[in-house]
Assembly symmetry: C2
DNA sequence: TCAGAAAATGCAAACGTTTACACGAAAGCC
DNA sequence: GGCTTTCGTGTAAACGTTTGCATTTTCTGA
């Protein structure tokens, strides 16, 4: 299966009996050539199975038509869904997607950013805002446009396309408190290097403080985003005496794990303990009881990120941050305290 | 945020007072230049913040260090998980990943294949085997190595890294029959252009035939892979009189949708109706009752695909197909007929 | 010290595109 | 029918890199 040498613009031109310029124009600016020539060229292109050589094109136009994304992992419905929307929007604009994953490790993320930039991306989508200054410095020096997603902050310099994790988590916490809960626990994702996770913790703490409960004393267990993590964390929290009547989770997967564990311990949800999530993925709908959670518009976020990046590339805008709305998706897992 | 014009090899050469050839060699083959020149060059490179222009490099060396993947959608835990593993393995080898999605449309897939190839991929991962001859012809003509995943067939010419959908689905059907079910229905994915879906149907039919039941008469409803699709299809099947005692689904999402619908109709699972899935994703574990399903090693498949592609690129092997094992993951949703 | 070999460096030609400019033909104008 | 536009096409020069070959420098050993 040795690589055959691909047909070039020259081959097409020779075969069609025109110049390379005409072929190039027939493909890129069809309006500039007569219909008959264009047809001839396009037919020849098809016949030869010609595809433009990316290197040559990139070399002269200094446009790569490529956007990059570095995400913690695709192995998570949330990012996968956002990435899918990102890719679709890009694809509609004729731009292809380079993907790398960091595994929630910011120094690994830096490495991946360098690789992608070296590979010639016209822009980058990154997750969250927390990363070494080194990463930002590199991007600035190279003048690579980037958008930060899954987070939002008011900031003139940085381009956020996301939502306010703090506020969203706070809204859920307020709802929990309003239902009468006073003994509340939290299961968070690993907050190191993850501002989404820590913002959600901060939001819950602030809501507790505002209600006259002590945010500082909120019992928190951090775990990796997995069903098993949720189960373990939930077991730990439910051992406390007096037992919490509500457990706020930083993520739906953790929350569903928590529900499973609570039921395994013979507790009713929400009868004995209420549990809430964050993200609103399919799992939330399927879980029993249905998970009350914070709905995040993942697909819209991916689309908006792509559009923003394309607009910056085309010089249309400098950096319009986009703040997306979240809302509480109430199902059955949140009730009154026993 | 306008793109700063990046320093070139020329800039470095001029600044360091050497030729471009020397700079290139100092970077790519350090052994060929004296230590002192090398140091000088490297210092200058650092000083100027030079990074090689990918286009120029790709143009002359005709190596892109890039692999592509065209998958139906990332918005599906199955493909996302496999893709993640694929990417990780690639990344360890210093290769980056280009991603495009086809939305289960083979002609759109062809378009994406062309784009990715034009963008310079050294190899391609594709899903399943069913696509227009045109797509294969294009890949052959261009001599691009590719592996087909999520499917397996004995074939000298084509490189499969996957599993036998027919056999796997047949095994589940046999198990269902063995439990005593005689009135069986099936919910399949859309089989058009999707050999995984149609192979699974064929596997179930064959198992029925082998058991002396008529595979031809198996009631089948095709639906898109979604909870809603599963619900709709299940509603249709359960309207039949006499009612099926078991519903075999082509996918876990469909199966969980079916469970939801069955319960909504007031039926017990598996008391009144048994339901089985395919894939073994998180959802299967969380559903209530736990879903009996076919376990597919998605991550191992992604890794194997990457390794195979890298080996072919390096000329180590021509095409070693890899057949992966599936097994039945039995939980509670499959029982005896009422 | 010097010839010859070996090592280091430079020169310049690709690689496949796009695009400014030039050129000729057809079309529009009076 | 001569004039200017307009339109379609071709010519050739970039773009930034690698690399075969030529050239220069350094090293080796008698």
């Amino acid at each position: 299966m040795n690589r055959k040498s691909a047909p070039t613009l020259h081959d097409v031109a020779r075969q069609a009996g025109v110049s390379t310029a005409t072929v190039s124009r027939a493909l890129n600016a069809p309006g500039l050539v007569t219909a008959s020539t264009r047809d001839l060229v396009l037919r020849t292109v098809d016949e030869l199975g010609y595809t433009p050589h990316f290197g040559g094109r990139a070399l002269v136009s200094n446009r790569f038509n490529t956007m990059g994304a570095v995400i913690p992992t695709m192995d998570n419905a949330i990012f996968a869904r956002g990435l899918q929307a990102f890719q679709e929007t890009l694809s509609d604009a004729g731009v292809t997607l380079l993907v790398a994953s960091s595994g929630y490790d910011t120094s690994r993320e830096f490495e991946q950013i360098r690789t992608l930039v070296g590979r010639g991306t016209d822009g980058l989508m990154l997750i969250g805002a927390e990363r070494p200054a080194e990463s930002y410095a590199f991007l600035e020096r190279r003048g690579i446009p980037y958008v930060l997603t899954w987070s939002y902050r008011h900031d003139e310099k940085t381009c956020f396309v996301g939502f306010d994790n703090r506020r969203a988590a706070g809204a859920m916490a307020r709802e929990v408190i309003e239902r009468g809960h006073r003994r509340i626990g939290m299961i968070a994702g690993i907050t190191t290097g993850n501002d989404r996770a820590s913002d959600r913790v901060a939001g819950v703490r602030a809501a507790l403080d505002a209600a006259g409960l002590s945010g500082r004393d909120l019992p928190i267990v951090e775990e990796t985003y997995s069903l098993g993590g949720g189960r373990r964390a939930c077991a730990t929290l439910l051992e406390r005496r007096p037992r919490p009547t509500a457990v706020i989770c930083g993520n739906d997967v953790l929350a569903v794990g928590a529900i499973i564990q609570a039921k395994a311990l013979g507790l009713r949800v929400p009868g004995d303990v209420s549990i809430t999530g964050f993200d609103d993925i399919e799992l939330a709908e399927v879980a029993e009881p249905g998970l009350s959670t914070v709905h995040v518009p993942h697909r819209r976020m991916g689309q908006a990120a792509a559009r923003t990046l394309l607009a910056i590339r085309d010089g249309i805008t400098d950096c319009t941050g986009v703040e997306l709305e979240t809302y509480l998706a109430m199902r059955e897992s949140l009730g009154e305290p026993p």
